[in-house]
Subunit: 361 residues, 2 copies
C-alpha cells in the first residue's frame, strides 16, 4: 500500500482526485502534507474552528486562570497512533505514543505532566504483545517524567482494526512568565537549528516492513524530547519556534512554520545531517529524506543572539549531541522554504503532497 | 458477532478461555464487564499503575496547584469510540464521542471546559459522512459548552479499520471547595437515584444494525449531562457518587461502586424505569436491560437529607425529567448489589461477564 514517491499522490492511480473533488478518504489525507491540511481546513476547522484550534500548532495553549491571578496556561495535545508494524527497530507503538505526545506538548514550552491513553485493540491481538507495549509505555513515561492518569480500552472484531491503535493526549503546564512561542513567532534574522540527523524513524519502519530489500542497522529515533527542550529554553529563553518534524518530514514542517509566520526560511542542504545508511536507503527507494518522518528531532528557531547558547544546551542534553545550525529566516519570499543545494543552486521546498509513507506514526 | 446473552461469554464458543488463561484479545475484553476489569488489572494497572489510575473512576482528579495556593483540580477523562454503525437513531459516533467524554468529566463534579479528538479514518470513508459527524460534534459541544481545542487525523488502509474511530479526551475544572466525590465515596444510608429510563442506547444501536427483526421508534439517549450534574450538585452539594451506566449497564456500574466503596447497594426492580419498547425488545432477544449500555443517564448516590433536593433538581434539568429513586446503600454484604424483584424475591446482580453487545460505544 506504500506509494514510494513524493510526487503529488492525487495525480497517481491511488488517489484519482484532489481533495476538493474527492468524495472519499484516501491514504493521502493522513500524510501530514497538503491533503491533510486541506482536510483540516475544509472539514475540521470549517465546523469546529476556534482560536485554539486555528492557531495551527500541534498543541493548544489554554488559559488556566479561571478568574484567579495569572498562574500560567495549560498546553494540551492529542495524537492517534496507527503505525504498522507495531514493533520496529528502536521502538514500538507504545514508546511512539508516549514520546509523540510528550514532544508535542513540549513544543509549546510547557512542562508535560499528565498523559491519557485510549487503546483500540483488534480481536486476536496477543496479550504478550499488549503487555510488551504497555511496559514500553511505562519506560518512556518514566524517562519523560509524566504520569499516565486515565485510559480506556475498546476491542473491535478481527478485520476491523490492525492489531492496536493508541490515542494519547498530553497535558502540560506553561509558566506565566514564558515569552510567546509557536509556529507563528519566527522572525527575520532568526537562526534555524535542528537537533540531529533526519529520516531514521521512517527508514527504520520501512525496514521493519521488509520494504528495503536489504539489511540495515538503522534504528528509529523515537525519544522524549522534553528534557532537551527544557534545557534549550533555559539557555535560550526567547526561542520563537519549536516543532518536531514528524509526518511530512523536515520540509513540510518548515513550510508550516514559514506560512504561519509569513516569513521565508532558507536552509543549506550541506548542513542537514543525514546518516549514510538513511541516505543510501532513500536513494535506492527514490525517497527524499527531507520528507521522511522523525520521532525524536526538534527544529528550534531562535533569535541570533541566543543561537550559540541554544546549540550548546542541545549538545549537552539527551538526544541533542548532533544538533546543528541549518539555516536562517528572512522576510521574503514570505511563506516559502528555500534550499541551497550542494551544487549551490536554489530549490523551493514544497509541502508534501499526497502520501509518501502511510502509517509511519 | 453479537453474543445475545448475558451469561459469561468466556464459557461460550466465542471466548473459549477465561482471561487468566487467554493468550489473545477477545471481544469480551472490551465489554466493560469482568474481562475488561481483569485486563485493566493484570496489564494496565500492573505496569502503569499510580494513584490516579488506580482510583478506578472514569476520570482522573489531578492537582492544579503547582506550588501556588489551592486553586482547584483538573478532571481528565479519555474514551475511544468504536461504535458500529456510525449513525443510529438519536445520534452518531460524533455526538457519542463528545457526550461520552463530557459526561465522564462531569461525573467528577468538574465543569468540563476543553475537549480533544483523535480521528482514525478508514480509506474509503465518504467525506459526506465525515462532515455530518464533525457537524454533529460541534452541535453537541455547543450544547455542553465545551471547546474542541486540539485534534489529530490518521488514515488506515481499507480493511484495517471500520469507517471511523474517534478518541476524545476531556479536561474540566474542579473548584477547590468541592467535597470529595467518586466511586469510593458511597456510604450506608445513602439514597440511589437514576436520571431516567435505561437501555435506550443499546437497543437503538441494535435496531440500527438490523438485529431486532422488527421496527421500533427507540432513540439513543446520548446527551451531554453536565448541565444536569451542575444543577444536581447545586441542590445536593454533598453528593457522594456520580457515574454514568454506559458499557455493562446499570448492574455493572452499581457493582463497580459497591466494590470501590465496600458497601451493599439494594435496588428495587419495580422502581427502575424501562420504556415498554425497550422491555419488549429485550424480552424477544433474551437480553437483560440491567446490562444494556446507556449514554445519557447518571446514577447519583446522595446522603438521605439531600435526596429530595437532588431529585427535584434533576427533574428541572435537561434530560432529568424522568429521574427516580431506585434504592439505597447498606453496609452489608459489602461489595454486593441486590435486586428486590417484582415478585419480592432477592437476586444478586453480578458484574457483566464476557461480552453482551460489542461495539456499543
Amino acid at each position: 500500500m506504500t506509494n514510494l514517491t513524493n510526487l503529488p499522490a492525487f495525480e497517481g492511480p491511488q488517489c484519482p482526485l484532489p481533495l476538493t473533488h474527492a468524495e472519499r478518504i484516501v491514504l493521502g489525507h493522513g500524510s501530514g502534507g497538503r491533503m491533510t491540511h486541506d482536510l483540516i481546513r475544509t472539514i475540521f476547522q470549517a465546523h469546529l474552528g476556534n482560536p485554539y484550534l486555528n492557531a495551527g500548532n500541534d498543541f493548544a495553549h489554554l488559559p488556566l486562570s479561571l478568574g484567579k491571578p495569572d498562574i500560567g496556561h495549560l498546553a494540551v495535545s492529542t495524537d492517534s497512533h496507527v503505525i504498522s508494524p507495531l514493533f520496529f527497530p528502536g521502538g514500538d507503538i507504545g514508546r511512539l505514543a508516549v514520546c509523540g505526545t510528550v514532544n508535542d506538548v513540549s513544543m509549546s514550552g510547557a512542562i508535560p505532566l499528565y498523559l491519557t491513553a485510549g487503546f483500540i485493540l483488534e480481536e486476536g491481538l496477543s496479550l504478550e504483545s499488549l503487555e510488551r507495549i504497555v511496559r514500553s509505555m511505562r519506560i518512556a513515561a518514566e524517562e519523560a517524567g509524566v504520569v499516565l492518569v486515565a485510559g480506556d480500552t475498546k476491542v473491535v472484531e478481527k478485520g476491523k482494526g490492525d492489531g492496536m491503535f493508541i490515542t494519547t493526549t498530553g497535558i502540560g503546564w506553561i509558566p506565566p512568565d514564558r515569552p510567546p512561542l509557536g509556529g507563528a513567532c519566527a522572525q527575520p534574522g532568526d537562526v534555524v537549528l535542528l537537533s540531529g540527523p533526519i529520516g531514521d524513524h521512517g527508514i527504520a519502519v520501512l525496514s521493519a516492513r521488509g520494504e528495503l530489500g536489504f539489511e540495515t542497522e538503522i534504528q528509529s529515533d523515537v525519544a522524549p524530547l522534553n528534557h532537551l527542550i527544557q534545557a534549550l529554553l533555559q539557555s535560550a529563553p526567547h526561542t520563537h519556534v519549536l516543532r518536531d518534524p514528524t509526518r511530512g518530514g523536515l520540509a513540510t514542517t518548515l513550510n508550516e512554520i514559514a506560512q504561519q509566520s509569513q516569513v521565508a526560511i532558507r536552509i543549506e542542504e550541506t548542513a542537514i545531517p543525514i546518516r549514510p545508511a538513511v541516505r543510501a536507503a532513500c536513494e535506492m527507494l527514490g525517497l527524499d529524506p527531507l520528507y521522511i518522518a522523525n520521532e525524536g528531532k526538534v527544529i528550534a528557531i531562535v533569535p541570533p543572539e541566543e543561537a550559540d547558547a541554544a546549540l550548546a544546551a542541545m549538545h549537552r542534553a539527551p538526544y541533542g549531541a548532533e544538533a546543528v545550525r541549518i539555516g536562517y529566516v528572512e522576510s521574503q519570499p514570505a511563506g516559502r522554504v528555500i534550499l541551497r543545494t550542494m551544487l549551490g543552486t536554489h530549490r523551493i521546498l514544497e509541502i508534501l503532497s499526497g502520501e509518501m509513507l502511510p502509517r509511519i506514526c
